[in-house]
Each structure stands twice: as structure tokens, then as C-alpha cells.
């Protein structure tokens, strides 16, 4: 992005939009990094007005120590070597060479410790994007440029240790140096002229790349939830219908390693909670024989459901989405056949469709990296491990509930228990994550940044409940969040989401029952707003009160609430 384009993006931001305040903490003059960060972030959050504030010049640690969390949704911290010791920059003349190396290392260690303490005090409600020193070290060392000196290694080791410790902080997201290196060549980053004239050490190109990277960390997109894959020439090389189950391959010796790597990637995605399904035009028994091969890299049980027949792919995809109960925009479809890709894309325009590149190795590598970007999660939650099991359970429950008696029997014997955690800690990121990624049982679709969610929580009339569930089939983890406020015996619920994995278990009734009991409430009002996707929430409320805007009285609820079998803990 050219600087003039960045300025135009900033100037074109909607003036009346809710603000998105970000602190840019750096020891140098923020100048164009501020512009590029604002512009890239504005592009990612177009319905907000991005507002960047910068800290004190030449005092990165002081900026972080004085940080007021009320003033920013996020902090972008950019550390350069000169922030750790000015002698590692070009603006001071404090000495280079072996004489000062030990002293520099000592200062760097102390400054990093100070930064670490300041960063670890930032509340977990504020997202922190952290960039380690990315400029080349000055020619201050006794070795030739080809040879790494012990001091340089020690400096990098100190920085790596600092990063390693901070990366476990719940809100710190560390910029991946490898990705930055691809976007901005290390030897094209430093601008001596700008550094000496303006205290700004970066070329425009590097400021652009770094601004883009920091914006991507601050506003990470929601990861995709499911992947639907084809079989022939995709999960494996060859057509199983023609070559037989032993004729298809995914190994190095058969020149089919790209397919093996793809299987390996799918296995890793499944381990982090991504749903996998197959949509293939094949005979099911033939495909099953390949999937039963012991050398299959991806565990067979990780794939559910399988649509293997000769009908149209778009129909298969539709049924898989229904089984998973998630939207097409949360799913990626991979196939080697352009026509199938087009058919699915036409039927589901919001679905990301990827053509499997077969023998194009460069494109294959690009695809694997793209999958990492699409499914990458900042951190793994306990719930990620339950997802597939709960979908299989849901199928069982849905089949049971088609018969009323069976459904009642199923619920009565499920040995279900519900945990209600009032006022969950701010460090529990699953709460806001659930609010922001749930579409169907969602009272109004309103999304929150971590900082926005924290606002008002200290009000004694405000309540938040995080709901977890488990039954004899296993735990579903945290599956619902309610937030509201109490005024005497009336409750107003402003946020209520429940994962689609938890449908058909009367958890929503139990939630309301518990609220009525805990707060001795006589009525509940719902801040319901209809969205294109929140039909399940609307249907539930309509069944209770008719118009969702109508208050639900305790009397009406008691009359309409079905029998609840869960044990509340």
C-alpha cells in the first residue's frame, strides 16, 4: 500500500462509527507505522473508526508501564534493538565493539525484564500484538558480517527467551517472524536517512508490511470450523474405482507425497477441533476399503460424515452442513475438479473453495499454508477436542427426538449435568469467543471486542453466566453464555448465545430456570434483534412468549417449561 493510499483509507473511515482505539507502543517516532497500522486495521474493521494513540518517544517501557486499559481495545508493541539499548541503534554514539558488548547484553537483559513485567500486567481483556526486533543489528561486533558473533547470538537468545515467556500470556499474540520475512526483506527494512532525520527507522515498505502484520494479529479473522474434502486425486493420488484400493497412493515413493502431506494436515486440523467430512463421487464400499488401509495418515474416525455416492456434490455439501449444523461461511471445500468446485461455489457463494493442485508442487505448498491461515487459532480450548464427538451425539439425539417418547427417555437417562459459572474470570477467553462466533442461538448477533465485553462488568447489577454441559456421552465444555442486568425483580438479558452442539437438550430452559431462581425474578426481558441466522433463538422465544419483545413472566415460564433432567452443579 502506498503511503498516500494509507492516508486516504484513514481519511475515509466512517466518522460516526464506534471507535476502535489502539495504543501503538514503540520507542521510535511512530510516524508512518502509525499510518499503515491505522489503514490496515481500518480495512479489516471497516465498520469501526480506528484511532491510534502513540506512546512516549524513546521510552517504550514507560509507555507500557503507564498504559491505561480503559483507553484501548488493543496494544501493538513494536520492539527494536535500540529500545533495548540505545547503543544498538544509530542515533547515539555510546560505543560499539567488544569493549561494550558485555555492558550492552546486561542492559538488554534488564530492559527486557522491565518490558516483560509491564506487558504481563496488561489485563487479559486487551489484545496485545507483539513484534520482536526485526531490524538488522548494527555492525557493532568484532566479527565480519558473514560470521555471527557470540554477542549477537546472546542478544537473539535473550529476545527469544523473552518471547517464549510472554507467549503464554492469555492476550499476547506474537508476530511470526517467518511471515514478516516473506513480506519484507530484512535488508530492505532500515532507513538510515529517516532514522537520523525523523527518528523513524523504517522504509515505507517495511512500515507497510509491519502495519499489515500487526493489524492481522489485532483483528484475526474467525477460524473456519470444517473442511469437506474430495477423495480421488485429492485425499489420495489416483482413481480408486479404476485402480483399486491398493492402487491409489499418498507416499513419497509413488510420487504422491503432496496427498500424504494433505492427509497429515487434515489430521492436525482434526486434532485442533476442525470438523472433516468427505464428499466424493465414488462407490462407498470401494472408498471404505481405502479408508481402512493401515497406512492412511489421517485417522478414519476423524472423518464424519461421509457423502460417497454418485449424486451432485452440492447436495452432499448441503447434507454435511446440516449434520454439522454450521454455516457455509465457516467451511472450506477442497476438490481437484474445477467443475465440482464451481458447482459448490455457485450453491454456496460464501464457502471458501480450494482447487487441489495435484502435480503443481508450489501451488501445493501454498494450499497447505492457506489451510493453516484459514483454520489457525490463537490458542486451543478444551472444547475443541469435544466437537466431533458432540456432533455424533447430536445425530443420535436428533434421531431419538423424532419420536417424542424416545426423546423423553433419552433426556431422562442422559445423566446430564450443567455447570453455571457466574462472573467468569476475564482470563477466560472462551466466553467472548463463544459470544462472537455463535450465530444461530444468538439473541441479537452483537459482537464485542474483549475490552468492550469487560465494560460494565463491575456494575453490581450486571451478571454474566458461563454454562458448561456434560452427560454420559462425554463433556461438551462451555456451550452457552448469558449476560444481563437486574433491576429489582426484573432481569434484562442483553447477550445470550448457545453453541449449536448443545441444541435439543433443554439447556436453554434450564438457563432461564436458574436465572429465575437465583435472582428471584418475576420477569425476564430479552434484547432480541432478528438476524439472518438467529432463527433458533427466535423460535425458542416465540414458543415461550409469542413476540420476542414481550417480557417472559415467571408464571408463563413455569407453565411452558418442559421437565428438566439435568443436575445443576
Amino acid at each position: 500500500m502506498k503511503l498516500s493510499e494509507a492516508l486516504s483509507v484513514i481519511q475515509g473511515a466512517p466518522a460516526d462509527a464506534p471507535p476502535f482505539p489502539v495504543l501503538l507502543a514503540c520507542g521510535f517516532s511512530p510516524l508512518h507505522l502509525e499510518n499503515y497500522l491505522a489503514a490496515h486495521l481500518q480495512t479489516v474493521v471497516p465498520h469501526r473508526k480506528v484511532r491510534i494513540s502513540a506512546g512516549l518517544y524513546d521510552d517504550l517501557a514507560g509507555t507500557l508501564e503507564q498504559f491505561d486499559p480503559a483507553g484501548a481495545h488493543a496494544v501493538a508493541i513494536v520492539i527494536e534493538w535500540s529500545d533495548l539499548d540505545p547503543r544498538l541503534g544509530y542515533r547515539t554514539l555510546g560505543g560499539w565493539g567488544q569493549r561494550v558488548a558485555a555492558s550492552i547484553l546486561e542492559t538488554v537483559e534488564g530492559t527486557l525484564r522491565r518490558l516483560e513485567i509491564a506487558i504481563s500486567k496488561i489485563p487479559s481483556s486487551v489484545k496485545v500484538a507483539l513484534a520482536l526486533p526485526a531490524l538488522p543489528l548494527t555492525p557493532a561486533f568484532h566479527t565480519s558480517g558473514w560470521q555471527a558473533s557470540g554477542a549477537e547470538i546472546a542478544l537473539r537468545e535473550l529476545a527469544a527467551g523473552f518471547a517464549r515467556r510472554l507467549v503464554s500470556h492469555p492476550s499476547v499474540l506474537l508476530l511470526n517472524e517467518q511471515r514478516l520475512n516473506e513480506r519484507s526483506k530484512p535488508d530492505e527494512r532500515y532507513d538510515l536517512r529517516a532514522d537520523l532525520h525523523a527518528g523513524f527507522p523504517y522504509t515505507l515498505k517495511h512500515a507497510d508490511a509491519l502495519g499489515e502484520a500487526l493489524a492481522a494479529l489485532i483483528a484475526l479473522p474467525q477460524p473456519k470450523k470444517g473442511l469437506i474434502t474430495d477423495l480421488d486425486d485429492t485425499l489420495w493420488l489416483g482413481l480408486v474405482g479404476e485402480e483399486g484400493h491398493d492402487g491409489v497412493a499418498w507416499d513419497l515413493a509413488s510420487h504422491a507425497q503432496l496427498h500424504g502431506l494433505y492427509q497429515q494436515m487434515l489430521g492436525a486440523l482434526a486434532d485442533q477441533g476442525v470438523l472433516l467430512a468427505i464428499a466424493s463421487k465414488n462407490a462407498l464400499d470401494v472408498a471404505e476399503r481405502v479408508l481402512a488401509r493401515p497406512d492412511l495418515v489421517i485417522p478414519r474416525e476423524k472423518i464424519y460424515p461421509m457423502e460417497v455416492h454418485w449424486d451432485a456434490k452440492s447436495g452432499s455439501v448441503e447434507r454435511i452442513l446440516k449434520t454439522w449444523n454450521i454455516g457455509a461461511d465457516s467451511v472450506v471445500f477442497v476438490d481437484d475438479n474445477r467443475m465440482e468446485i464451481e458447482e459448490v461455489r455457485t450453491a454456496f457463494p460464501e464457502m471458501e473453495c480450494i482447487l487441489f493442485p495435484k502435480s503443481d508442487y508450489a501451488a501445493g505448498l501454498t494450499m497447505l499454508r492457506r489451510l493453516r491461515d484459514l483454520f489457525g487459532k490463537p490458542r486451543l480450548a478444551e472444547e475443541d477436542a469435544y466437537r466431533l464427538a458432540s456432533i455424533k451425539q447430536n445425530r443420535h439425539i436428533q434421531e431419538s427426538t423424532q419420536n417424542g417418547d424416545l426423546a423423553e427417555h433419552f433426556l431422562a437417562t442422559a445423566e446430564a449435568s450443567i455447570g453455571l459459572e457466574f462472573s467468569p474470570p476475564a482470563t477466560d477467553r472462551r466466553v467472548v469467543e463463544l459470544v462472537n462466533k455463535t450465530n444461530q442461538f444468538n439473541l441479537n448477533g452483537i459482537r464485542y471486542t474483549d475490552a468492550e465485553w469487560q465494560q460494565g462488568l463491575e456494575d453490581p447489577d450486571c451478571f454474566v453466566a458461563a454454562v458448561s454441559y456434560q452427560d454420559k456421552f462425554g463433556p461438551l465444555g462451555k456451550i452457552a453464555v448469558l449476560r444481563g442486568e437486574r433491576t429489582r425483580d426484573r432481569l434484562r438479558i442483553n447477550t445470550w448465545v448457545m453453541s449449536c452442539r448443545a441444541f435439543s437438550r433443554r439447556i436453554e430452559y434450564q438457563c432461564l430456570f436458574q436465572l429465575f431462581q437465583r435472582f428471584e425474578a418475576q420477569e425476564v426481558i430479552f434484547n432480541f434483534i432478528s438476524t439472518p441466522k438467529n432463527g433458533p433463538a427466535r423460535d425458542f422465544l416465540s414458543a415461550l412468549v409469542g413476540d420476542p419483545a414481550t417480557a417472559l413472566t415467571r408464571e408463563v415460564f413455569t407453565a411452558k417449561c418442559p421437565k428438566l433432567y439435568q443436575k445443576v452443579i
Binding site: 502506498k2 503511503l3 498516500s4 492516508l7 481519511q11 536517512r193 529517516a194 525523523a198
Partner: protein, 83 residues
């Protein structure tokens, strides 16, 4: 107006979005409230991008008005086309 002047007015509009383009040729650091040290550097960098030149920052720091900058650009690139 030569195309350098028109281009420079566009640059001024980018850096000072509230400025009336007709008043840009008369702009100076004294008359434009937002023309501080940060804006001056931004102005230089946008000029470099738009004119595809590299400025001598030591000289450019002394350029404090639209006309001085235009004169400097004319010196650097004398073959301006009239429009």
C-alpha cells in the same frame, strides 16, 4: 498550471485533507495549522512516492511553503509538461 503543480496540489490534499485545493498554492508552514514536523516528513515521503524521486532531506527540511517545494521540484525535474 503545469502537471507538477497539479500533482503537488493532490499531494497537499492527501496530507492536509481539510485544505481547499484552490488555496494550496499559497500554503505555507505558517498558514497551515496542521503543518508540523510530522506532517512535513509525511509530505516529503508522499512527494517521493508520487513523483518517484528521492529528496535530499537536508535541503527539503528548509522547504516551508508550497511554492518553495514546487520550485525545488522544478529544479530536480526541469522537463515539466504544461497542462
Amino acid at each position: 498550471m503545469d502537471n507538477k503543480e497539479a500533482k503537488l496540489i493532490k499531494v497537499f490534499q492527501t496530507v492536509f485533507p481539510d485544505m481547499d485545493p484552490q488555496k494550496a498554492p499559497a500554503a505555507s508552514q505558517a498558514s497551515v495549522a496542521g503543518w508540523d514536523s510530522v506532517a512535513a516528513i509525511t509530505l516529503m515521503n508522499v512527494i517521493e512516492e508520487e513523483f518517484e524521486i528521492q529528496l535530499d532531506f537536508d535541503k527539503a527540511a528548509d522547504l516551508t511553503s508550497f511554492q518553495e517545494i514546487l520550485g525545488y521540484l522544478q529544479e530536480l525535474q526541469p522537463n515539466a509538461t504544461r497542462i
